[in-house]
């Protein structure tokens, strides 16, 4: 029984990851393009909180590697950033799960900021820095999306159980 549910959950994780990867490269109008929330990272955080057994560090790292391959950045750059976020999430997982939603959103905001900073930093090291302030918009938009995402995925998880 436990394995059956595990598989269902695994399918769900895979589905959300594919969805987020597609969302990452869907063409958007130029105005809202820089503000595209990093859905994949939010999913990784969510699954690290709710299904830590499936979504471990290796999972997060592979997601990051997929981002690198898909967007053609330096191989390993996003993988390292995803890994760091997943690590921090797993460290504080037991606490974060019982946070009230606003507190949780704030924590996610901070995780997203750490992520963007690491990506920005590695960009700077390899001499391709993007210094426009617009690159920090996904941190805000991602944090704004988080409560909605949690509500939707929670409903889905409860129904699917």
């Amino acid at each position: 029984m436990a394995t059956g549910e595990g598989r269902a959950s695994g399918l769900r994780v895979t589905f959300t990851v594919i969805l987020a990867l597609i969302f990452m490269i869907v063409p958007l109008p130029a105005i809202i393009k820089p503000g595209r929330p990093n859905l994949l990272l939010l999913f990784v955080i969510y699954w690290a909180l709710s299904a830590p057994r499936i979504a471990g560090l290796t999972f997060a790292w592979l997601c990051g590697l997929a981002v690198d391959l898909l967007t053609g950045t330096l191989l390993g750059q996003h993988a390292a950033a995803f890994l760091l976020v997943a690590f921090l999430t797993h460290r504080s997982q037991l606490r974060m799960r019982i946070f009230p939603i606003y507190h949780q959103t704030l924590t996610v905001f901070m995780l997203l900021a750490v992520y963007e900073f690491l990506v920005f930093w590695i960009d700077g090291i390899i001499g391709q820095e993007v210094t426009t302030w617009l690159r920090w918009v996904p941190v805000i938009s991602g944090a704004l999306v988080w409560p909605i995402l949690v509500a939707v995925l929670d409903t889905w998880n409860r129904r699917g159980r």
Binding site: E5, I22, L57, G76, A80, L83, M96
Partner: protein, 355 residues
């Protein structure tokens, strides 16, 4: 609050400890990053991995493909007729122009033969389609649907019907990534078509604007001047239109004028681009991969200090095959042996400043 799924036991205390696997994976990513950044030893491995991402591009591109197909197949009869007429007219005018060019090409070849210079460029082109995906909002990179299977190679020049679009930065099996000339990390060596003054057109990260930072205050540049590629980088063939000057600001107190230009290629609207082979692809591919300086893409930092001194040099009015004065930015921009057209002699002639 996040719902706990059935298997929500913490992973701490199970399997390898969290810190250990974090450390291991972090080390792995650092190694991958270093290896990928220096030397690109991962070309083949990442090429195979990138093939796995191809379905994602296909899925994302599918709606716009379908829309194109729909509009094409249900096009109005009247529209088609009008299109046909317009295209016929264009073809006729182009033919007339070509008649003149035929004579010019022959004359050019005769003159080259007299001067015993290299033969003119024999070129092959291939149309590639741009895949409608957003890879990075802050960099001007696009993906095309032709890859190494079609003979596309790194640093290959990419054009459209109006001018230079960019160059290939990465090649997969069935796709490639091109960097547009408007990317902030890209620069094209150009010369003003009217008088042959050479400079470098640097992208600004804005599709409608490029900057020419190395034209001195007294350089003869006017609004409306056409900038063509000078071919000094060994990547872009010489003589292709790049941009048109839109703004020249001269402050007598400064050394360099503020010159802006608008790219001629329709960087934000194109759907199809032309890939250019300067000789047969079999001859070009290995040679270019080995010896082509990755001049323009990364060379911005390299060229900046050098080019500030001699860049705006003037050469005799007609573009000659042997540059009278090459900017000593040349180390970054010496043409590889396969580059056919310019510099039959190493261009170490001391450069002359602008008059």
């Amino acid at each position: 609050m996040v719902t706990l799924s059935s298997d929500s036991r913490p992973i701490i205390g199970r399997g390898p400890p969290l810190g250990a696997s974090f450390f291991f994976l972090a080390l792995l990513s650092v190694i991958i990053m270093v290896v990928d950044h220096r030397g690109g030893y991962l070309e083949t491995a990442s090429g195979w991995l990138r093939m796995a991402t191809q379905p994602f591009y296909a899925v994302v591109d599918a709606p716009s493909q379908a829309w194109n197909w729909l509009t094409n197949s249900f096009a109005d009869r009247g529209d088609l007729r009008r299109d046909n007429q317009r295209l016929n007219e264009q073809l006729r005018t182009a033919r007339v122009k070509l008649l003149r060019f035929d004579a010019l090409i022959e004359e050019n070849q005769r003159l080259r033969a007299i001067r015993e210079a290299s033969q003119g460029i024999s070129e092959r082109t291939l149309i590639a389609e741009i895949i409608k995906v957003d890879v990075d909002p802050f960099r001007h990179r696009v993906r095309i649907d032709k890859g190494s299977e079609d003979g596309v190679f790194k640093d290959q020049p990419v054009l459209d019907a109006f001018g230079i679009v960019g160059q290939v930065t990465r090649v997969d099996r069935y796709g490639a990534e091109i960097i547009l000339i408007s990317d902030a990390a890209h620069a094209v060596p150009v010369q003003i078509n009217r008088n042959g003054i050479r400079s470098i057109a640097v992208g600004l990260g804005d599709v409608g604007k490029m900057s020419l930072p190395y034209l001195t205050v007294e350089a003869d540049a006017k609004v409306g001047d056409l900038l063509v590629s000078s071919g000094l980088d060994g990547i872009f063939p010489s003589g292709y239109p790049v941009a048109r000057i839109t703004k020249v600001e001269r402050d007598p107190a400064e050394t360099f004028a503020v010159v802006e230009a608008k790219p001629l290629a329709q960087l934000d609207r194109i759907r199809e681009v032309l890939l250019l082979w300067q000789r047969s692809p079999s001859a070009t591919v290995p040679a270019v991969n080995d010896s082509a300086p990755t001049a323009v893409e990364k060379g911005k930092e390299k060229e900046r200090p050098n080019a500030s001194v001699p860049a705006p040099t003037s050469i005799p009015a007609q573009p000659s095959t042997r540059p009278a004065a090459a900017p000593s930015a040349a180390p970054a921009a010496t043409p590889p042996p396969t580059e056919p057209a310019p510099t039959t002699a190493p261009a170490n002639t001391p450069s002359r400043p602008a008059q």
